[in-house]
């Protein structure tokens, strides 16, 4: 029974790539394989390259002091942090709130089998992410440390143990969210969503801003730290030794991890049924006629999409990276902006001022990290009949999705622009062009994400995370959306350096603006023609 459920859960995961949902027939193997290879390749490349860089910087000072075990623990910590962060929100959607819970509960299926199938999905997500971080880290490790049979066993064990720890932490995290929400009022659900969002923002902040600093501090004080930990025979030291190849200690770590996992599974099994059935309990709340309010058709459609956006923590977190980054960086700019710009001014040639182009391009790259429109058609799912049966033009639906994306993106963009105006002391022309270009670019990325989703929507999902997690559509949107400003930036700087024409910033910025206007106009035209036709046919 458990095997059948796990198989079905995993089939859901891969079905969109291999099965045509209309005909129910297998898609051409080639298209499925290409899509999967592309997704995996991009993900692996991005994470592996980043991880190789971090691990190379870490291993050298630690190797010098013979603290390789500390290196293994540090990369494990990073893998656990990232793996848990990504899979924790899937846990809530996949384990507690999938739409087929009722169906499975009605079947003669043991709760243990349902849990096992749900957790298998979480394990694959968390395990894959953690392995993508661990494997380059371990490759770097063996580049510096001699290989032995014991160390290989320990390294393989480490990768597996990290994936189990990620699963355990994700389960506990998702469980905590549900426990909080099980108080069952709409307000507490909103609070839980807000709490999850704030929690995730804190983790993002920690990951991208603080962790580099912490790692630097560790490597700077590596000698003292290592001595202190080793001399006190600290638990961390013992665990580190286990993963360095001490088979005896490794066995103890395995026993402890398995015992903890079994204990967690046992407790979870006892509580699971209570939580998923309690979620649907209703609290009667008074209705009054004041709740009947009128809006225009355009506003009510935007309101609907805002409600959808705010109701789903995974949607907010997976598709609003850009807003998060810009918010975090705008706070940093407030404190460190002056120093950064002074440093840049010292570095550049006063005749070729590429800073404005650099600023604009970096903002546009951050804008491209927002992929709110990328799953927006898929998210309509089984509700699509509502919009299709109402007297609403397809173009209006498309504009509504773009509006939501734009509103969520433009606020941090404007904050960033204002900071640039003050801190970078840009002149009026540069400020105006920066404002225009960065205000226009979200329209392009919104349109791009939406267009890609229109070409390949997935409407038959059982859990929202299936469509809101990083997928081919959102990655393609980020790559194209980020690639264009990156190419413009590189080419502009090359041209400035090559021709060394004074005051070349102005014509380049105007060209940048013209390219962007053309790109946005082209995208809107594409949506208004091909996109509208496609939306009319989707069902």
């Amino acid at each position: 029974m458990t095997r059948i459920l796990i198989k079905s859960q995993l089939l859901q995961f891969i079905s969109s790539s291999f099965i045509n949902k209309k005909s129910g027939k297998r898609k051409s193997q080639i298209s499925g394989i290409i899509i999967n290879i592309l997704t995996v390749a991009i993900g692996v490349l991005v994470i592996n390259l980043g991880m190789l860089k971090i691990s190379k910087e870490l291993i050298l000072p630690l190797h010098e002091y013979h603290l390789e075990w500390l290196y293994l623990l540090m990369i494990s910590f990073l893998a656990i942090l990232v793996g848990t962060m990504i899979s924790i929100f899937n846990t809530h959607e996949v384990v507690f709130a999938p739409k087929d819970n009722d169906l499975l509960l009605a079947l003669p299926v043991p709760v243990r089998s349902i849990i096992a199938s749900r957790l298998s999905y979480i394990y694959i997500i968390g395990g894959t992410i953690s392995a993508l971080i661990m494997i380059p880290g371990i490759v770097t490790y063996y580049h510096n440390v001699q290989m032995s049979a014991g160390s290989i066993v320990a390294s393989v064990s480490l990768v597996i143990i990290v994936s189990i720890v990620v699963l355990m932490l994700s389960t506990i995290g998702g469980w905590a969210c549900v426990a909080f929400m099980s108080r069952n009022s709409n307000k507490s659900k909103k609070r839980a969503n807000a709490l999850m969002t704030v929690g995730a923002l804190a983790i993002y902040y920690f990951l991208f801003v603080k962790i580099t600093g912490i790692f630097e501090e560790v490597t700077d004080n590596v000698g003292k730290l290592g001595e202190k930990v080793q001399s006190s025979n600290h638990l961390i030291y013992l665990i580190g030794q286990a993963f360095s190849g001490n088979i005896g200690l490794l066995m103890i770590v395995w026993i402890v991890v398995i015992a903890c996992a079994l204990l967690l599974f046992f407790v979870f099994e006892k509580k699971y049924l209570g939580y998923i059935t309690k979620q649907n309990a209703r609290v009667v709340k008074a209705f009054d006629a004041g709740q009947i309010k009128t809006k225009s058709q355009a506003n009510t459609l935007v309101y609907k999409d805002i409600k959808r956006y705010l109701s789903c923590a995974t949607y907010i977190l997976n598709c609003s990276f850009g807003t998060v980054f810009m918010m975090v960086l705008s706070v940093l700019m407030l404190f460190k902006g002056n120093d950064i710009f002074k440093l840049i001014e010292m570095m550049i040639d006063s005749n070729i001022n590429f800073v404005p182009i650099l600023n604009i391009s970096l903002i546009c790259i951050m804008i491209s990290l927002n992929t709110i429109t990328a799953p927006s058609i898929s998210l309509e799912g089984k509700n699509l009949w509502i919009l299709k049966s109402l007297p609403v033009r397809e173009w209006t639906i498309i504009k509504t999705k773009i509006k939501l994306h734009y509103f969520i993106t433009i606020v941090p963009v404007l904050i960033f622009d204002a900071e640039l105006l003050v801190i970078a002391r840009q002149n009026l022309f540069v400020s105006a062009m920066t404002l225009l270009i960065t205000m226009l670019y979200p329209l392009f990325t919104a349109g791009l994400g939406l267009f890609i989703n229109l070409m390949k929507p997935k409407l038959n999902w059982t859990s929202e995370s299936t469509v809101t997690r990083l997928n081919v559509g959102s990655i393609t949107t980020m790559v194209i959306g980020g690639g264009i400003p990156l190419i413009i930036m590189i080419e502009s700087i090359k041209m400035m350096d090559l021709y060394r024409v004074e005051n070349s910033t102005k014509p380049l910025m105007v060209s940048y603006f013209i390219i962007e206007v053309l790109a946005v106009a082209g995208m809107m035209l594409l949506l208004k023609t091909v996109g509208v036709k496609k939306l009319r046919k989707i069902y």
Partner: protein, 237 residues
């Protein structure tokens, strides 16, 4: 009110509906009967502009669904067989959403929402999220959302599924009243007894082909609708 002329809809190689023609006049309550997979839902969705069709023409109040879908949709309300509604909205938010789309005035919508919600006994639940609604409650809300903008034509797919006996009775009353006031209703059903007692006219579809249509008396003759339907099903096997 609703004219279906030689409708043909194919899914790949499979013909779901073949050369189907029907005419539903103002004030008529028209039942659409057929076995599972006969083509009822496909016909209904084609009428509502939800799915495209291969051949034929569908006109609502004289306007072609293909040429001017928005004008057609302004005149109709559709209730699907499985009311998947926006679970992130409360009941009242959903009704407000539908009323906003159709531009229903505040005072009018207020009166209608209170009236129909009271009739179905879900007024107290209107402030709750739809994720907490049962299937029957969602069905009731979908029905209220159809009546809130008082369309000329209401198209329903298996509207009685999931409704309790009282709600089913209320719905039948509402349907009759709507038609008495000049509106039209086209609905599919498996409950032949309901079709026989409630409808002015019925159409029987088997394997995508319209096999009989007309007034209930014309279709059933001296027999019951059930025996006629079973007989036709048998002869088509």
């Amino acid at each position: 009110m609703l004219q279906i002329i030689n409708l043909t809809k194919e899914y790949g190689d499979k013909v779901a509906v073949k050369d189907l023609s029907l005419h539903i006049k103002p004030g008529e309550l028209y039942g659409f009967i057929g076995h599972n997979g006969a083509g009822k839902t496909t016909t209904i969705k084609s009428c509502c502009g939800i799915i495209d069709f291969n051949e034929g023409e569908i006109k609502i109040d004289g306007i072609s669904v293909k040429d001017n879908p928005i004008e057609c949709k302004k005149k109709i309300a559709y209730i699907p067989d499985n009311p998947d509604l926006y679970e992130y909205m409360t009941g009242i938010q959903f009704l407000n959403f539908i009323a906003d789309i159709f531009g229903v005035e505040n005072q009018t919508r207020s009166e209608r929402i209170v009236k129909y919600a009271d009739m179905f006994g879900i007024t107290d639940s209107l402030s709750e999220l739809l994720s907490g609604y049962s299937h029957g409650m969602k069905q009731k809300l979908a029905i209220i959302s159809a009546w809130v903008h008082e369309p000329k034509l209401i198209i329903m797919d298996e509207p009685f599924v999931g409704l309790d006996p009282k709600a089913a009775f209320t719905l039948k009353e509402m349907m009759r009243e709507h038609c008495n006031n000049g509106g039209s209703i086209f609905f599919s059903t498996h409950v032949l007894d309901v079709a026989e007692k409630l409808c002015d006219k019925v159409a029987i579809i088997i394997k995508g082909n319209l096999v009989k249509c007309g007034t209930v008396e014309e279709v059933k003759g001296d027999s019951s609708l059930e025996s006629v339907f079973l007989e036709m099903e048998g002869s088509n096997d």
